[in-house]
């Protein structure tokens, strides 16, 4: 066995080789040009983050950067052509998510303006409202806040307490914040720059509350230079101040003291009020109406999934590059220290994450395709495709955002003290990304939605079963399973088929084995969950909720298992499109590593449920170790293929300084030895004198 000690010995590793240029093209994918344009901006000195800027300066700089983007970049692609857009939803997101390379604050402030504020006008407004309000918002003449979340209600948007009561006498809505908990909070653009807001409030007319609707509300005067002036009468604002990250955004709170907005400022696509105060909506069910309105804002989750993936790539690019240069301890040789990437523990920390990042990348491609289809392709915007899209976004956004935090932290630790220095960027990126796991849908809450969807699908498959009435606890929607097309009713059969013996004879490296193991886990978990929840239909509301609560963790575990499978399927599908044999072979090993580490993480489940024998389970870890050795020579190529290089990474330790320093040190010692003046070590003397004795 030859230890591969560094990249220079890559040639020894022989075939297969990754064709990084070829793979890089493939990875750029469908919206390659827009991604490359965005990456160009992400290297523009006007656009990149200055890591030393204090909060106030950082905020102002990011606002100026947004103005540059508004005029020079492709940030308006998703909007209607008649207003200067391209009706290109997927392309818009693809470019947008790359902006995280410049500065997450820039990405999220752009997201607030175009992905939330403008998108709400676009998707919740009528054509007339788009014409009237969208252009100025798109051009950033009106920076806006997206006023949904309240102090008292984050994940539970349906319960926001702000009211918008229609006044028939004056023909306008009265917006009011009835108590402190109803203040809108954490809103980008609310503390300083916002001149308007899309405000979500309970629409009340003729004594009836028609649920949450969105209203276009001017909040600040416009100064002569176009900047935000003082607050309009009846509007209060507070600054959220310093946050854990994203301090280039002026998050803040808003409250409304019975302010009035004209009737036509109710964004009326899914519900309008006539001059006489009569409410009407194209969607009869208030519940479905609410979810449709919220669902049209799914792009936030889609883009966060992509942006989080980019952040993970920066993390691994930095850590793998450094670890391929850094040496520490001389276990294998007296003269040369070991490259830390050669240590098993180091491979264990970084390579499974690399596999996950690939899996996440390919899954995100599919998400983006689906998103583009729903919002920009003719005839694809159906309730079913929307629900699939929402479920897939709810599956992937938690996975990739938690993964980004994990990748950034792992990379930071793998780089030791150097990883903690702001100049190496990992720590600030992690600080900025932290909030990604709870905003735009708290990850835990999103996974519960996914779990409930899995249950609904399951229930649909077994419609005949008596006593199945989970509707009260499960979101009232039904559609086909999303990404993996194994019919859920196959579950029962597959459990009967597969016993310990058959599986133990199968090879874990076989694609079909991996698919079965990952699929069966989702199916079995959902099936068991459905059975456990069945008694809820005969219970009181409180008892049913309690029963549901007792299985909440399992619901989340099922959703996570679903996420594993979805990503594995996307990875596997993508590999089939790789023609280059060397690249293909390495990617298969990487996909295997993804599958095996997911199975290893849930090994007890596979053992308890008789899906893997003890003997076979024991081989999972040793097989992973073999894959680590196999993939290690390709780690640099695999991370390089993403094309995120030097000026996009902006980490000193990623530039080769470590290798340069080592060359200098090596040179020093070589000259010292040659001079004959090198000191002898006391240890060596002691050894020699022992030998003499």
């Amino acid at each position: 066995m030859t230890a591969v000690t560094d990249r220079s010995s890559k040639a020894q590793a022989a075939v297969p080789q990754v064709d990084t240029a070829y793979l890089g093209e493939k990875l750029l994918g469908r919206w390659k040009d827009l991604r490359l344009i965005a990456r160009g901006f992400a290297q523009d000195p006007r656009i990149i983050r200055d890591p030393l800027l204090p909060m106030e300066e950082h905020r102002e700089r990011v606002l100026e950067q947004l103005k540059i983007l508004a005029t020079e970049a492709q940030v308006l692609r998703a909007f209607p052509e008649r207003l200067g857009g391209k009706d290109d939803s997927g392309g818009g997101i693809a470019g947008f998510e790359e902006l995280i390379l410049a500065d997450p604050s820039l990405q999220i402030k752009a997201g607030v303006q175009w992905g939330l504020f403008c998108a709400a006008i676009h998707h919740l407004g009528t054509p007339e409202q788009q014409d009237r309000l969208l252009g100025q918002a798109m051009r950033l003449e009106v920076p806006g806040a997206f006023a949904m979340t309240e102090i008292g209600h984050g994940s539970d948007v349906a319960s926001v307490a702000t009211t918008a009561t229609y006044d028939e006498t004056t023909k306008d809505f009265v917006l009011n914040t009835p108590f402190r908990a109803a203040w809108k909070d954490y809103l980008g653009n609310a503390a300083k720059h916002g001149q308007a807001a899309v405000v979500f409030a309970q629409l009340i007319t003729k004594g009836v509350n028609h649920g949450v609707h969105a209203f276009y509300v001017p909040i600040r005067e416009t100064n002569k230079d176009g900047s935000a002036g003082k607050l309009l009468p009846g509007i209060q604002s507070e600054d959220d101040g310093l946050k854990g990250g994203l301090n280039g955004i002026d998050n803040g709170r808003l409250a409304f003291d019975n302010i009035r907005v004209p009737r036509i400022n109710l964004l009326a696509r899914y519900g309008e009020v006539s001059e006489e105060g009569v409410y009407s909506s194209p969607i009869e069910s208030p519940g479905r109406r609410f979810f449709t309105m919220l669902g049209s804002l799914v792009q936030g989750r889609v883009s966060l999934d992509g942006a989080a993936g980019v952040a993970s790539k920066i993390a691994l690019k930095t850590a793998i590059t450094y670890s391929n240069q850094r040496r520490q301890f001389n276990g294998a040789s007296d003269t040369e220290e070991t490259v830390i990437m050669d240590y098993q523990t180091h491979q264990r920390r970084l390579l499974p994450l690399l596999a996950e990042v690939y899996a996440g990348h390919y899954a995100h491609d599919r998400l983006l395709d689906l998103f583009h289809a729903v919002f920009s392709e003719e005839g694809m915007d159906t309730p079913e495709s929307r629900e699939d899209l929402e479920t897939l976004a709810a599956t992937l956004k938690p996975t990739s955002t938690w993964r980004a935090l994990h990748a950034l932290q792992t990379a930071r630790e793998a780089c030791g003290g150097a990883g903690f220095m702001a100049e190496n960027r990992l720590v600030q990126l992690r600080q900025d990304l932290d909030i990604y796991v709870t905003f735009e849908g708290d990850n835990t809450v999103l996974l519960q939605l996914v779990g409930k969807r899995l249950l609904t699908d399951y229930a649909k498959q077994f419609k005949g079963i008596t006593g199945m009435n989970m509707a009260r606890f499960v979101v009232d929607r039904a559609a086909d399973t999303v990404m993996y097309k194994t019919p859920l009713n196959r579950a029962v059969q597959s459990i009967a088929d597969t016993g310990m013996k058959r599986r133990s004879a199968m090879e874990l490296r076989e694609e079909e084995t991996q698919r079965e193991l990952l699929t069966e886990r989702v199916e079995t978990m959902v099936e068991e969950l459905a059975a456990a929840l069945r008694p809820a239909s005969k219970m009181s509301q409180a008892e049913g909720a309690e029963l549901f609560n007792e299985h909440q963790q399992e619901l989340i575990e099922a959703a996570k298992a679903h996420a594993d499978l979805v990503q594995w399927e996307a990875f596997t599908k993508a590999i089939k499109e790789i023609d280059d044999p060397g690249t293909h072979s390495v990617l298969v090993a990487l996909r295997d590593l993804y599958a095996l580490t997911r199975i290893e993480a849930n090994l007890a489940w596979y053992l308890i449920n008789g899906r893997l024998s003890s003997q076979r389970a024991e081989t999972v870890t040793s097989y992973i170790n073999r894959l680590l050795r196999k993939l290690r020579p390709h780690a640099q190529d695999l991370i390089d293929a993403f094309g995120i290089e030097g000026p996009l990474v902006r980490a000193t330790i990623e530039t080769g300084v470590e290798a340069t320093r080592q060359d200098e040190a090596r040179d020093y010692y070589r000259k010292q030895r040659a001079s004959g003046n090198a000191p002898v070590s006391e240890k060596a003397l002691a050894r020699n004198s022992k030998k003499k004795k």
Copy 2:
């Protein structure tokens, strides 16, 4: 089954109850008075952190705070009485670790000054050197840097490249930084405030390198006001600049261009050089000498273990208090939303962590006892007790520092967007604590040391076995097992004894079952590892290193298993000293939760190794869920018992604002209903009209 909905229903939970005052006293422990004094300072407006301060101002403020501590607090207790100390090592650390409550930057800067710089003079210096150098350092007249780590060598201190060559003609040492990688880096006090440094360098005299020794080196002039002036000739310094956290400390780099320090500045307790340049040391073996010198600096790890525990307590205090007030979604009732602490997922996130924090607290108490015994009790400073202390510190420091990051992040996410606000302190604490996992011994490297120690102990037990020669790969030290006194040679027997059948009949809640399960895991893993590494003795150095590398992950897993057991034993021992029956009963459940979650985390191992049957393994999770329900009503009491309250926590959401806001909202709706003007919901109308039809 009654759902306990909030603290007010605590009475319904009935017996047992935690006596928080009683438990609080117990938890303060042996150095209660010193801890309370430190907590007093941690509430002093002069001492607490200003979260908004930019780096430069933060650095200056922390220096001023150190001056206050030097004159008013008990920071000098660990030092010799003749120099103004109290020879009270344990007490010194106990007070010191509480300082994290004020500001981690303050704690670590204090640690640099008194725990590293002064401690090196104290422990590595002769009495004469202590008399000459320690007083001014203790009084902060000479702020100092601890110059050990180099850019090129972090964990591998033995390989630092700075040289200190004795010049017989001038009778002094020439200190030199031969190349860039040999610059000292990440040193607190190096960028600005340091006036001297303890520099670790290869001691060379008469052409022989005697290994790493410490030298006292003045680095900056002293200004008239006592502050640091310009750098002395031959000294270079660079500022590390902004870091991921701890920005109240002026970390920086130092380099030495053949500067000269007098012979008597070699800290000479473990090695000295005569005027004639003859080296002598009380410790013959260079390896043992090196480890003895480094070992005397163990207090850094001891105190980080304690400080990390305090940080975890702040995190859980904030999250549990908020989660006991915060309500979201009304699953169980139409009128009242559910307290989020009642959600199973929320309990799953917070309560096992609470159990871990208790386990870590009690383990730290034992570590501190051992530390105090070695350094401040007559006759306890033996090579064996030192090695035990070092192993225990290397076991607990990684565990508690990683736990602190996990606790802070979990708490931050459990508090949603509020958790991300600097005013709630979790994010800044996490930023500061990040570096704790890689400084003062990288966690992964420390766990490898622990693993090697376990192997050495094992080898000692089986001395007779042929071919056991791991000395080349295992630290060359041997002593008894540290905390758990199960002789390791029992391992073979216990494996034969315990099969699936016997274990499945046992109750997981029995103390003996838990002990056996946790103990057997360590013993079996070590035994298997030893067997796997046996062939190394017949291999070349490179092959042996490769074999060792292939089992590196297992080595770390064994060390983690050891950490689980050590903490479980400490927890179990502590419970036996609790007289109050209610408190005792709750703590037993908490200890059970600790044991069961550790077992659950490694469930596959127990299954594969036949230690738990599938049937029994399945009950682990359901038993954990039962414990969560049982412990949930006591969560607040258990976290309150640590006595870390309001002014020590300094998080807005921990002050009851959430409950106040909810009262206000409840009151609003109550009045609205009473007025008869409350709007009817469209949903309710639809339901009613359906009923009518």
